[in-house]
Symmetry: C2
Subunit: 345 residues, 2 copies
DNA sequence: ATTGATTTTGATAACGTTATCATTTTATGG
DNA sequence: CCATAAAATGATAACGTTATCAAAATCAAT
């Protein structure tokens, strides 16, 4: 049944050596083989239904044309588009990928790293589960990290400029007249902690000779799944509004949190954007189709994915020319319908 | 550089034959090897840093412990959770997977099938890009299809009972007093066409001695991406409301469309659920976090994924005992906040 | 034609593991 | 203690491709 035809069978069929057959069927750049013999081989191959045995080929060259993508959780809306970007790019180069989730669990992450080594992937794109992730298992496997944490010095990294993006949002809110801006946060999707965000907004205010009151920082426990973090954020927002701290705008560190804020605002009859402006971060689908549509600081995840893929393949294929890169991509403010000028009262 | 230690090196190191070493390191069920030698091998392996070369092993056994998952588009919110279900299940059995997107393009889909054959995956879970998808390329590769289309007789299939789910929603709406129910549809995510839905709702009405007016069927062009189909549906809904055909409820064939309806209702100041009930289908995250939260007919995608994975592995590992299965899972109505009793007027 | 350079083809040895035997060692029972 | 069975280990041949080198065929130029 599954005893497939091999290159030797094709050779026998067309009366040529297996070397020549190999050159025709799997040889690169179609070099060094006469058109006539090429035809002969191809028709013989078609006749007996030859299909290349990639297992044998990979084994022989100890290359797989396969890369790994290690992320925390595929159901996190941040990742699918990123992966798509990777996928589209690597297809151009004839690579494919295995996708490994770790559910934020460092132990599973380590298993996955082990798997990468054993299955001899040619390289990996890794979104570390936490800033202390141990990458030593990977030895000299070419990798690109999706993070901008400074814990990974010496590694190649690609990420959006989250801080810059945050400032973009704050500046715009200031332009719109907002001065009482609440910060809704609880650790980013990359699990890099969020204390820098509080610092960033404080700096932002102090640069303008104002102070950011800690009352306006709404912290919520950040949990594993998007849905849980939504619930947590919603609870936090409900509490916040009950205290009726006067805030005219909310900046949330991701769209899920922003949508929680929007949800609570709707619930309480607070008009968005007339009475409250909300800006999120990431640019996920849920924010595009909500009502009102969410203003957000977009991270171009597809672009990150394709850049990471491109870099990785360069690193794999021309390792000598490679030198460590830290790419930081700007974010882009997308103004939709959840933000507007502060209400005159 | 990357010349890794092999089984032979370990054998030399510990003074045993490579056969014994192989039995210790990669042998199944830890049978037939003395505890003392086992220790000897393991410490030698650790000492010289042996890592199993899965390429060689796969090649030798012509098995990969790898399956493929072929879907249309990873960014379609339907799929990530399904894939997660697959992933969790196959991990139990020591399998991993490659994920292949086809962007609804049958040509790419065929390339992907070819890739499966050449890379010798042990099996595949396939969501056909369209009902006429050609699976002959796959010959006798064990596969499980994610569809309930009757075009795939003879294949193993798993899918939710969409029609049953739809009836669940309609029955509930009837219970709530709704008689004028609009059907918002345009082809399902599985691209299986949607004419059956119109038929189903007509049957539903006629079973109750009523007739379903075609005016209440809102068709929208179904496009590739979720966002586009949202826009299309929103446009269709705007048109529908302008005609002010009196409908007290909308049943949408997926959550994206339902959210489009919700969006337009909000836009027009139509109160949901007081003035209009909306029920969607699938149970995606966006519907859980919208305001109001979307009532939906849930398809348990994680369950489908894990069932598909379990079946596939059975089919792979005990092919003789296998017999063709067509599994149809019931849907579940999840009542959230977008549906309620019809308004008394 | 004859030489030499060049292109095209052929023969064959790896790659590192697993599977199949053959062989050795250990256990069992009279 | 010997015979026999059972358990543990060893030797070696695959798996199907690619890479290397050698041989043959073709081409160019005298």
């Amino acid at each position: 049944m599954s005893s497939k035809a091999t290159i030797v069978d094709v050779a026998r069929e067309c009366g040529l050596s297996q070397a020549t057959v190999a050159r025709v069927l799997n040889g690169q750049k179609e070099i060094q083989v006469k058109e006539k013999t090429r035809k002969r081989v191809l028709s013989a191959a078609r006749k007996i239904g030859y299909e290349r045995n990639a297992l044998a080929a990979n084994f022989r060259r100890q290359k797989t044309k396969n890369i790994a993508i290690s992320i925390a959780d595929l159901t996190n809306p941040f990742f699918p588009e990123l992966i798509k970007g990777v996928q589209n790019k690597i297809r151009e180069y004839g690579y494919s990928f295995v996708q490994l989730n770790n559910e934020w669990n460092p132990k599973i992450e380590q298993d996955n790293f082990r798997y990468m080594i054993q299955s001899r992937v040619d390289g990996a794109i890794i979104s570390p589960s936490h800033p202390g992730a141990d990458l030593t298992t990977l030895e000299d496997l070419p990798i690109i990290l999706l993070t901008n944490s400074d814990k990974f010095s010496g590694y190649d990294t690609i990420a959006n400029d989250s801080k810059g993006g945050m400032i973009l949002a704050l500046e715009r809110l200031f332009e719109l007249g907002h001065r009482k801006i609440a910060l809704l946060t609880g650790g980013s999707m990359m699990s890099v902690g969020s204390s820098w965000r509080l610092q960033a907004i404080k700096d932002f205010y102090s640069e303008r000779n104002m102070i950011f009151s800690d009352d306006l920082c709404i912290k919520c426990d950040m949990s594993v799944s998007s849905l849980e973090s939504f619930s947590q954020a919603r609870a936090a927002m409900r509490k916040f509004f009950n205290k009726d701290t006067p805030a005219t705008a909310v900046f949330a560190s991701n769209d899920i949190l922003a949508l929680a804020a929007l949800h609570v605002a709707n619930e309480k009859g607070i008009k968005v954007p007339d009475e409250l402006s909300i800006i999120g971060m990431d640019g996920i689908l849920s924010g595009e189709i909500s009502y009102p549509a969410l203003t957000t600081v977009e991270k171009n995840r597809s672009q990150i994915g394709s850049l990471a893929a491109k870099s990785l393949i360069e690193k794999i294929e021309t390792p000598l020319e490679w030198q460590t890169k830290k790419i930081i991509l700007p974010c882009k403010l997308i103004e939709r319908d959840s933000s507007g000028p502060v209400k005159k009262s």
